[in-house]
Each structure stands twice: as C-alpha cells, then as structure tokens.
Symmetry: C2
Subunit: 332 residues, 2 copies
C-alpha cells in the first residue's frame, strides 16, 4: 500500500465538523498534499481548503480521493457510489477509512478494474503477516503509550517525528491507524489484524533499519482499557520500543466508553508499559510525559505540567502548547 | 455454531500420528461421540476407533465429519474434495480445523447448499462480535494461564470441567481453540478474531449465568510469549476470571518457537497474570498450579510437585498423574 499524493479530500454530506475529524487530521499534518476538498449538498464540515469538483481537481493533478469522513454508522453511502465511480473514471485512486469496504461494492470494483485504478480500504489490512519472531531488529524505536484511548498518542508521535525531521535525524512515522495512514500514505491498521498476528504485523511495519534511524510507531489503545489491551500489548511487543512516551488527558473521568473503569495513575501506567515492553527490549526507558492540556487555561496547564514533572521526575510537555523538543533532547 | 454428534473422524492421508493430534484430543475427551474413523490409502494415523466408510457411518447415524488432521501446510487437500462432497450427499455436516476454508471451495459450498448441510470452519469465526464492555457478569469463571504456549492449559481446563461435573457442580467448558470446539461442539477460535474484538468475543463466549454456575474458559498463549500475548491478555480481560490456574511444563528450555526467550518464573508468571486479570476482576485469585510432568519418572514428578508446592504455597498437581481434585477443593 502506498497512497499517491496530492489528495482531494471527500467530505460527502458530513453532518458536522466532527464527522470530518480524520480528514482534518490529515490537513493539519500534511497541508502540502491536501490540494482541495469536495463537498456534497448539505455538507456541514469545512477543512478550509479550496472547494473543487472532481474534474477541477483531476485537471490540477490530484491523484487520490480520500474518504476521511464518518457518516452515520461509519459507512460508504449508496448515494456516494456514482461520484466515486466518476472519480475512478477521471483517474483517481480511492482511499477509504470507513468500516464497509470499497472492494465490496461491485460498481466501484468494476470501474477500478476497467480504468486500472487502485482501491485502498485502510481499515482493512489485505497483507498476510507472519507470526512475530521477537528477534531484536537494528535501528531505534519510540512508542507513545497512553493511560487511555484517544489521549494524544498519534499527535505526540507526529510531533516527535516532525521535531526529529527538523533536527535532520533519520526518522519515519509508522502509522497504525487510518488517520496516520492517510498522513504518511502507508501503514497497517493494527486493530483490524487477526489477533495472532498483531505483533507480527508491527514487526513488518517497522523493519530493521540503520543503527541511527528512528521509527516513531503510532500507539493504539491502552494496557488499562478492558476492550483494547490486546492490541496495545501486541503493538508494544512487536515494536520493541527503546523509548516510550507516556500520554495522558488529565480531565478524563473514566476509561473511554467504560464508565466503571477509573484511569490508572501515571506511575502505574508507566510501570505496566515498561514491564510489557521489557519482554522484547530489556533496555526500554520512559523518556517523558505528554499531556493534552486543551481543557486547561494557560496558567492551569503550566501548573499541571510543572506538578507532574516534579512528581514523575521526567520531562513533561504538552505537544501543542510547548512542543516536544524536551522529549527529543532526552533521546540518545 | 453447534456441531451435531456423533462424529466420523476423517484422518485423510495423515503422514503420522502427530498429524492427527486434534482428532486424538477429541477421542480422548469424548469417546462417547466419536463413532468411527475414516482413513484413506497411505494414512499412518490411527485413533483406535472402528474404521468405517462414509456409507457405513451414515447408516449408523453419524452426523458430522470432523477434519481434525493436519497435513502438510494445514490445508484441505484437493484429493479430499470428492470424498467431502460425497459425505455431504450422504447427509453429513462438515467441520474443519484446517487453515483454508471449506466455505472457499466451490464444489463443497454448492453441495452443502443443494443438500441443506452445514459447513463449520472452526478456525475462522463467522460471528460478528461487539467491543468488550468490561461489565462484570454473574456466575463464576476459571481460566488456566501458562508460562508458555502448549503447556497443558486445555487439558487442565477439561480436567477441571470433568471433576466439577463429577461433583455435580454446574459447569461449562468454554472452548477457545479448534480441539476444544470439536470436543464441546461450540466455541470461538479467539486467536482468529480481529484484534479489536478479542475481549468482546470472550465476553460473548462466557455470558452472564447463575451465581453458582462455573465457566472453565480454555486459555491461549502466554503473557510472556512475544508473538501471542495480545490474544492472552484479551482472553484474560474478557473472561474476568475469579480464579486462575498456573500451567507449566518444566523441561521447556525456551519459549515455544522463540529460542532467545527464557521462560518466566512461576512467581513472575502468576503475578503478571493476576495483575492483568485485576483490571476486570479485582478479586481474582490463583488457586493452584498444574504441571505437565510427562517427561519425568514417577519419583521425579512427585519430587517436583512437592518442591513447587512448598515454594509457591499453593496446591500443585499434574492433571494426568494426580488429577485436579485438589484444585477444585480450593474453589469457593
């Protein structure tokens, strides 16, 4: 899988801005490859890009139509099919982050075959993975881990990658979810891999590399999330991180979607993740803490970061407010 | 899924006894439902059952043909297809534990449709599972966990179930792998479930029940196995065990298939499993240790069990040599 830029961002008839969250993530991190947006009647989302028709975007050289939108049920609408077929006829590849598959819609499959275009259902890995070998690979790896799901692991990983690129370090972001895959054009949705192959898929995603090369692997789930910990531990074992970064959102009252489950403490979370990671990399260390302080005022945020840093004895940043420079400083 | 007994055990052209390991497990635990075996020319395996043709077994009332055999590559041979179609014509359902699917072979699918018979690919769950809720369910649950893969977790679970049945306790064995599924006729191959749904599938497998009902859930993998720990932790979180039993094979030199990975100590293994299990059941306890002492003489075995029991302070048995009565005694 390798998505071809530039992208035309398809927003369909998204009912609100939140439904375009995935597309927005791609625009935030890769404005250089997001050429324009395509909105249908009734679309309530706006990425701040130029609106173009399929024909206009094709004329200007857009190569892939990105379906980075969630309508009700996360499905490809039947109303979209004619437009998607037209996109294929105009030369677009299609890449979808929705639950149902482009490759299950006969009209789309037929058009792609006829016009020699590619269909990417990024939530549905088509690759066959080997069972993990656990063998140590060359190169260095960083993995953000979280007290919960959706606490800023992807943002932290992307911010680390950008900071390391800015410092001319050899670095790749390794995407493990749909937004990340759209951003870098490749990756594996690890939560959609068959359970036996979670670690194996992660090994494939982050292969042996130069000794001074860094992979920043996108984290998923949390060891403390009763629904998803299997994905998390497989990702930890397969990525063999040299360094973990602890990610946290301090206003979360309970584990996401699980009202009866309190969040772990930062110490408890760090220890459990280091313990799990030691199985495939006994030298793993935690280099610092990334807090999403969006809900706080500037003063509250500063105080919270200081307090956490004092308690944990590790560099503590908000990747948005303060950047991740201090975390990258701590790498060796 | 619900396999109909009695079974005709299909051994095909199994190259040796080991290739029929799955079928042998079914015969060992359920001789009452294994009516006969069907062997082709060149078959080198023998389950000690009466040999019957398809026609003879159908006449005597066999309902399901079980493909519990591994030929090279774990695949359904093309040479078998005509026989399998004939079985369907004679009224058999087919149940396969092989890697490729009965439902991917057009001749078999067509025959099953025409004759109204069912095809079960027990390694490939067809059910759609919900994401785990983590909500505590009524009833009690036991889960054997292991220092490694293939150390006797299924045997221990089946022995516990039998002992509890003999004591007139309300108990069900919940199968999570192919042999277990053939033995009880239903279950879920959890290692073939998409990663996001490991815990959810386990919750479905072991639903809420009477307060005095016990589920003995078949364990899979090991938290210390770098390839499969994701399956294990999902199974732990989803099954919410009240009690775990620690399973171990003392002559294992390294983790199965991973020469660079030593086995954890029993204490380390018990603590890691209890820690993981506490997330969904804070009251979980370890009731004892099940050791596979097959490689030892009677004296060696006895000495090893005694030594382990003294070191760990928990009832320590070999389910084969000494039974699991002392483990069941420890339940409350």
């Amino acid at each position: 899988m390798r998505l071809k830029p530039p992208y035309l961002m398809f927003l369909g008839d998204a009912p609100d801005q939140l439904a375009a969250k995935t597309a927005q993530g791609v625009v935030d991190w890769r404005p250089d490859i997001c050429m324009a947006q395509l909105r249908l009647d009734g679309c309530k989302a706006d990425l701040g890009l130029t609106d173009m028709t399929l024909e206009e975007a094709a004329d200007k050289g857009a190569k892939t139509l990105i379906l980075g939108v969630a309508n009700r049920g996360g499905k490809i609408s039947t109303e979209w099919i004619a437009i998607l077929v037209r996109a294929i006829e105009l030369g677009f590849d299609l890449a979808s982050g929705l639950h149902n598959k482009l490759t299950d819609i006969p009209a789309i499959v037929d058009a792609a075959k006829m016009h020699g275009r590619q269909l990417f259902d990024v939530r549905h890995p088509t690759e066959t993975f080997a069972v993990a070998s656990g063998k140590k690979r060359s190169g260095k790896r960083i993995l953000p881990v979280g007290t919960d799901c959706s606490v800023g692991k992807m943002y932290t990983a992307l911010a680390l990658t950008k900071e390391m690129q800015d410092r001319d370090m050899k670095v790749d972001f390794r995407a493990t979810g749909q937004t990340g895959i759209f951003i870098v054009g490749e990756g594996v949705s690890v939560d959609a891999v068959v359970s036996d192959f979670i670690s194996g898929a992660t090994e494939t995603l982050s292969p042996a590399n130069d000794d001074d090369h860094w992979d920043v692997v996108e984290g998923q789930g949390s060891l403390f999330h009763a629904s998803y910990a299997g994905v998390t531990i497989g990702l930890i074992h397969g990525s063999q991180p040299d360094y973990i970064v602890l990610c946290h959102e301090p206003t979360r009252l309970h584990m996401r979607g699980l009202p009866d489950f309190p969040l772990p403490s930062l110490t408890q979370c760090m220890e459990a993740n280091l313990n799990a990671a030691r199985l495939t990399n006994p030298n793993v260390k935690c280099i610092g803490i990334a807090i999403n302080t969006k809900a706080f005022s500037e003063e509250e945020a500063e105080a919270f970061l200081k307090k956490t840093e004092a308690e944990m004895g590790l560099p503590t940043v908000d990747p948005v407010r303060s950047g991740v420079g201090r975390l990258v400083d701590a790498l060796s």
